[in-house]
């Protein structure tokens, strides 16, 4: 009589099977590994690239730069491409973690708008090719704010008690020391790069005065809470507000979600493709970057997730309502009021974290 397989042996067999090579597909040896933000490239774009290069694109995802840096710092290898924000690009360059670009393999580089190349984090674009950007701004429930006669284009909305009194418990701000302090510093008229403890203290007092009116610190749940009407005002990223607006419209809610860049200015996050030094396929990585620089491929990120686009060739292919949205594509005048975050040194990071803890506890 045949004995049934003992459970332990069965488990080992299953684990073993999982490591066996999968049945072959086209271009199976040619795999490009992309370590990317969640929901940052549409499946259609991926399919088009795979067809054009006869290779496969394999993606891993992260939800913030620190997570990606921490994983690389811990020794992760095998990623060809990353999509870090400016300050993380700068860190990666200084860590010698990136491979210089072979510009002759990127003929479409000229598609990029002049204002998004040659940036402070990578002068001359030796390592990075801009892909998309978001702005940290204020998203709001159009009807609720209109009923209360509240302004929508100023940071005062989340910091001034005279406005917050009408919004108590309906406001969320980002659960990020950097982003919230940046908003407070901008509202107070300081630079986001300023590390003067006296100015930080001023910003802390502004935040503590407003905090009793806020519902929560939230980095992602505000999308849903805005879309279903739990929150009326949220400090967050433009592409998240884009999604909240679409979700509210799709669900047929009796209100609309809007988002505006505050007139005092805001934080801009420009994400770029970079090639990791330890990646095994720099050839495919260059092909991918050049593919993504083509207008029809670059346009997808704006059409699908509402990110801003540094690619001039993409502009005619972006849905007119998105291309005309000043919170996604700010005018040149507004763009001047946007600032990119830079990494602080260890001492300032520790001081900021101490202030942040105090903000949470008080």
């Amino acid at each position: 009589m045949k004995r049934p397989m003992p459970p332990a042996a069965a488990i080992i067999a299953v684990i073993f099977l999982a490591f066996l090579p999968s049945p072959s597909t086209a271009g199976e040896d040619d795999v490009l590994h992309l370590y990317n933000w969640n929901n940052y490239i549409s499946p259609e774009t991926v399919a088009r690239f795979e067809a054009s290069c006869d290779c496969r694109l394999k993606q891993d995802y992260y939800s913030d730069n620190e997570e990606m840096l921490a994983k690389l710092e811990a020794g992760a290898v095998g990623y060809d491409l990353l999509v870090p924000t400016g300050n993380a690009v700068e860190s990666l360059i200084r860590l010698h973690a990136l491979r210089p670009l072979a510009r002759e393999r990127l003929p479409r580089f000229a598609n990029l708008k002049a204002e998004y190349v040659d940036t402070w984090f990578d002068p001359g674009n030796r390592y990075s090719v801009p892909y998309a950007y978001t702005v940290t701004l204020i998203g709001y429930n159009v009807e609720k704010l209109r009923e209360r006669g509240l302004p929508t284009d100023t940071w005062a909305l989340i910091f001034e008690p005279k406005y917050l009194e009408k919004l108590k418990g309906r406001v969320s701000v980002l659960n990020s020391a950097r982003e919230l302090m940046a908003a407070a510093m901008i509202y107070l008229g300081h630079s986001v790069h300023d590390t003067d403890p006296a100015k930080w203290d001023e910003a802390k007092r502004l935040i503590l005065r407003a905090k009793p009116y806020w519902a929560t610190f939230s980095n992602s749940t505000y999308i849903k809470d805005l879309a279903i009407g739990n929150l009326w005002v949220a400090h967050g990223y433009s592409n998240d507000m884009f999604r909240a607006r679409a979700d509210a419209a799709d669900a047929g809610r009796p209100f609309h979600i809007g988002f505006t860049i505050p007139r005092e200015g805001a934080v801009l996050a420009l994400d770029s493709f970079v090639i990791h030094r330890a990646g095994p396929r720099p050839d495919l990585a260059h092909r991918f970057i050049d593919f993504m620089l083509a207008g029809e491929n670059a346009a997808d990120v704006s059409n699908l997730i509402g990110a801003g686009n540094p690619n001039a060739a993409a502009m005619p292919l972006i849905r007119p309502d998105i291309a005309a949205d000043p919170a996604i594509f700010p005018s040149a005048d507004e763009a001047r009021r946007l600032q990119m975050l830079k990494d602080f040194d260890v001492h300032s990071r520790r001081l900021l974290s101490r202030i942040w803890t105090e903000i949470k506890v008080r």
Binding site: D64, E66, A70, T221, R350, S353
Partner: protein, 275 residues
């Protein structure tokens, strides 16, 4: 008296788990102690330990921690939340465990299965369900929501050890007490409860300690003031990239928990000695 027999197979059997604990528990714990005395690296991680052959160690991080009351306040707050969670878990779990333990054998298995069933889905998904539940009654983003979520997630860890303990009680003890005229309350208070103390302690440890390190629930359900020590530690390693401060916080938390455990063992011994 015979000395316990030296059995080589006993050593062989206990070798793999011992090695596992040495390699993946003790070694990282010691690395953490070392990290708490090192300088933070510019991009995160740690600065080099040796510069020109001289070790670069500092007490700066400890000085920073003890420099004011902010961090101690977070510790205190976390211990209060953990104590409340443990108390509510105990109050909810005890009657349930007792009911299960006194059911018929077949129903008992079914009930235990029901207690374990929530583990079939990831706890984060279940916490998201709480967001939906607590939203309409305006209880979301409050300390109440944090404690409700904590109690919900950790309840099985209180029920199971209690049940295992209560199930083993000898029913003839209760019958004897009844014959001697003890009412239901006296039977519970004088027999069942004292016998179940080991189960209570086991459940308390299984709930109290993980709650202290929990960061996901306060982040998802908590309001603007609900920061716990777990959040603080996570922030140091991920957002703030300050490993020495993160290590110091973890280490002090471990010391505080061990001190508390030691205290409860000592208190238990003193009580038993007194009887």
């Amino acid at each position: 008296m015979t000395r316990p027999r030296r059995d080589p197979t006993r050593w062989l059997v206990s070798l793999p788990p011992t090695l596992f604990l040495l390699a993946f528990f003790l070694a990282p714990a010691l690395l953490m102690v070392l990290a708490s005395f090192r300088h933070p690296g510019e991009f995160g991680g740690l600065a080099p330990l040796l510069v020109d052959g001289k070790p670069q160690l500092t007490l700066e991080t400890y000085r920073f921690f003890f420099g004011d009351w902010i961090y101690a306040e977070v510790f205190l707050r976390s211990f209060i939340v953990a104590a409340l969670t443990t108390l509510f878990c105990l109050l909810l779990a005890y009657p349930l465990a007792l009911t299960i333990a006194r059911s018929s054998a077949r129903r008992r298995d079914l009930l235990v299965l029901l207690v374990i069933l929530p583990f079939a889905s990831n706890f984060l998904i279940r916490v998201y369900a709480w967001i939906i539940l607590l939203g309409p009654p305006h209880l979301l983003y409050t300390t109440f929501a944090v404690i409700a979520g904590m109690v919900y997630v950790h309840l099985p860890f209180m029920i199971l050890p209690l049940y295992t303990n209560l199930e083993k009680h000898d029913p003839t003890l209760l019958e004897a007490a009844q014959d001697l005229g003890a009412d239901a309350w006296t039977r519970f208070w004088r027999i069942t409860f004292p016998l179940s103390l080991p189960g209570i302690w086991a459940g308390t440890a299984l709930v109290f300690i993980p709650v202290l390190g929990m960061f996901a629930i306060p982040e998802l359900l908590g309001g603007t003031g609900d920061i716990l020590i777990g959040n603080l530690i996570k922030e140091q390693f991920l957002d703030n990239r300050d490993w020495p401060l993160g290590s110091t916080l973890s280490l002090l938390l471990t010391v505080a928990v061990l001190a508390l455990a030691g205290l409860s063992v000592w208190a238990g011994r003193a009580r038993r000695g007194g009887i």
